[in-house]
């Protein structure tokens, strides 16, 4: 039946009589109920649509009584009650669940309390619905019931296939003990649990963790129960073991366990060391190859620069020689032809003496640049154009005094226009020079002239 619930309704729904939905709904709820209670189908869980009065009755019964009414009675109850009005439905739900529980048949006496309740004709319908605190009270009771059931259920789970009473369970565990070494600790733990519970079948020992060391290294077994006990259960089994053995054995056992522990730690350390070494080796290999690559790069560069260096040195030498030669010829020329000497004098006078060549090679101390070659060409191109222009522009009469090692600069252009007027005055100058005698370097005469 599909009805839209508002939030309040839903809340009430939990505590108000359950809407007459078919049994199927309960089953689902049951399925969805928390795991530990679902398998046992214990008392109605909180989410169940439950009538407070009915469930309250059932729990009181459950707590006080332990007797088990005839199984048949419950089934009759459930079938006849189905036609009653919704308030009764919870009985049905409970009976249904308890019935379900009995079906599971894990532990007979658990069901009795539930069945007893319905057998007593079910809780009187007229108990009024109480206030919040009653709910709280009920909840706490419910918790109690769930816990009790859970405990018994766990014990039920651990029991051997069919051994109901205590005695046989004890012998059973002893038979299991000797020949199955790794089960021993499991055994001990289950024995442990039995001691504090009264009845309860023997639970199947939880599967012992498989020990890591069972592999390569062969270990001689020292005491009966020893051999490769699994690490995880060790701590748990330890205190139980000491109880049964006398003090000396206890000491021996403890020492053995600690040795085992330290052996395991040392193996782990060794393994870690090994893997670490392996990674280190591979890392170093990678680093080594990259270093080698860098080395080849830098040595190539070095070789290139060495070659450049030699070339440049050779160039400088040749240039120096040439410049010297050129200077000689210039000197000779000026000697032969007085005309030029005069010019050179004037030009020396007119020429602003300028500093040595450094400014022409400002970027001499260039920081190392990878593209050394480009720089070289670039620098050269600029020089090439510049001198051509000068040559074309500075026509006759521009004459550099050979003595000074200076370099023609743009100032020559200005000189050009001036030199034309000077030609006229040249004549009378020559006469004076000839009067002075030996040609000598025009500069010295010039100097004397001024």
């Amino acid at each position: 039946m599909d009805r839209v619930f508002s939030v309040d309704e839903i809340a009430d729904g939990f505590w108000s009589p359950h809407p007459p939905i078919g049994l199927g709904d309960e089953d689902e709820n049951e399925g969805a109920a928390p795991p530990f209670s679902s398998s046992a189908g214990g008392p109605p869980s909180k989410t169940m649509g439950m009538n407070r009065s009915a469930s309250e009755w059932a729990f009181q019964q459950f707590l006080q009584e332990a007797a088990a009414p005839a199984h048949a009675a419950t089934t009759v109850q459930s079938s006849s009650s189905s036609s009653r009005h919704p308030a009764k439905n919870d009985d049905v739900v409970e009976i249904k669940r308890s019935h379900h529980y009995s079906g599971v048949g894990v532990n007979g006496h658990q069901q009795q309390p539930h069945m007893a309740a319905p057998a007593a004709g079910g809780p009187p319908p007229n108990i009024p619905i109480d206030s919040e605190d009653y709910q709280a009270f009920l909840k706490s009771k419910l918790e109690l019931a769930c816990a009790a059931v859970a405990l018994t259920r766990v014990k039920a789970q651990e029991s051997a296939a069919a051994a109901p009473d205590n005695g046989s369970q004890g012998s059973n565990s002893s038979q299991m003990g000797p020949h199955l070494t790794q089960k021993a600790s499991g055994r001990d733990s289950s024995k442990l649990q039995e001691k504090d519970t009264t009845g309860g079948p023997v639970g199947v020992p939880p599967l012992p963790a498989i020990t890591k060391k069972f592999g390569a290294q062969v270990k001689s077994t020292t005491s009966g129960s020893s051999g490769e006990q699994s690490d995880d259960d060790e701590a748990e089994g330890e205190n139980e073991a000491t109880q049964t053995l006398d003090p000396t054995d206890a000491k021996r056992m403890r020492r053995m366990l600690s040795n085992r522990e330290s052996a395991r730690r040392s193996r782990r350390r060794k393994q870690a060391h090994l893997t670490e070494l392996e990674t280190q080796v591979s890392q170093l290999r990678v680093e080594n190859s990259s270093l080698l690559k860098r080395l080849t790069d830098i040595s190539n560069k070095y070789n290139e620069s060495a070659v450049d260096n030699r070339v440049l040195k050779a160039d400088v030498e040749t240039l120096r020689a040439k410049v010297k030669m050129a200077e000689e010829t210039v000197k000779r020329v000026t000697g032969l032809n007085p005309l030029f000497q005069a010019v050179s004098e004037i030009s020396t006078v007119g020429m602003p003496s300028f500093a040595a060549s450094p400014e022409t090679s400002p970027d001499a101390a260039v920081p190392v640049q990878d593209d050394m070659k480009q720089h070289y060409y670039h620098h050269n191109q600029t020089c090439m154009q510049q001198p051509q222009d000068d040559r074309i522009q500075n026509g006759l009469g521009d004459h550099l005094p050979p003595a000074e090692q200076n370099v023609p600069t743009n100032s020559n252009k200005i000189e050009r226009t001036v030199s034309l007027q000077r030609v006229a005055s040249l004549e009378h100058l020559q006469k004076r020079i000839r009067g002075a005698g030996a040609p000598g370097p025009s500069a010295t005469q010039g100097a004397r002239e001024q």
């Binding site: 280190q280 170093l284 040595s299 260096n309 410049v323 190392v368 620098h379």
Partner: protein, 125 residues
């Protein structure tokens, strides 16, 4: 039956020992390798530094040389121009030293490759 068990026990013990030995050898080998490679890395690093240093020296020296070359070229060019003018005026033929165009393509200079240490005196020009 007992004989076979004893034999197997012995062989197991033997194989266990062998495997331990192998493992130990492997470990020692690894340690040796690690040291070796570390040593080599250090050596290579050292060589790299050396080469870098030398390269830098050469590079800076080259720069200076290049500047000198450029400067000398300029002077030569100017002197040549002078001589040309002079020869035009006086009609005398002078031998004008040509500007070696090899300056532009330095690799053309057929000079044998011999290692030239970066000498200091080059800097006093």
């Amino acid at each position: 039956m007992d004989e076979r068990k004893r034999k197997r026990k012995l062989s197991n013990r033997e194989s266990a020992r062998r495997s331990r030995m192998r493992k130990q050898q492997h470990l020692d080998e690894l340690i040796v390798q690690v040291n070796q490679i570390q040593e080599e890395n250090k050596k290579v690093r050292h060589m790299i530094d050396g080469a870098t240093q030398r390269y830098l020296n050469f590079a800076s020296e080259n720069n200076v040389l290049r500047a000198q070359v450029a400067e000398l070229t300029d002077r030569l060019r100017s002197l040549n121009s002078l001589l040309q003018i002079a020869s035009e005026v006086s009609g005398l033929a002078f031998d004008i030293p040509d500007i070696p165009d090899t300056l532009l393509e330095p690799w053309q200079l057929p000079c044998p490759i011999q290692p030239i240490p970066a000498s200091a005196d080059v800097f006093q020009c």
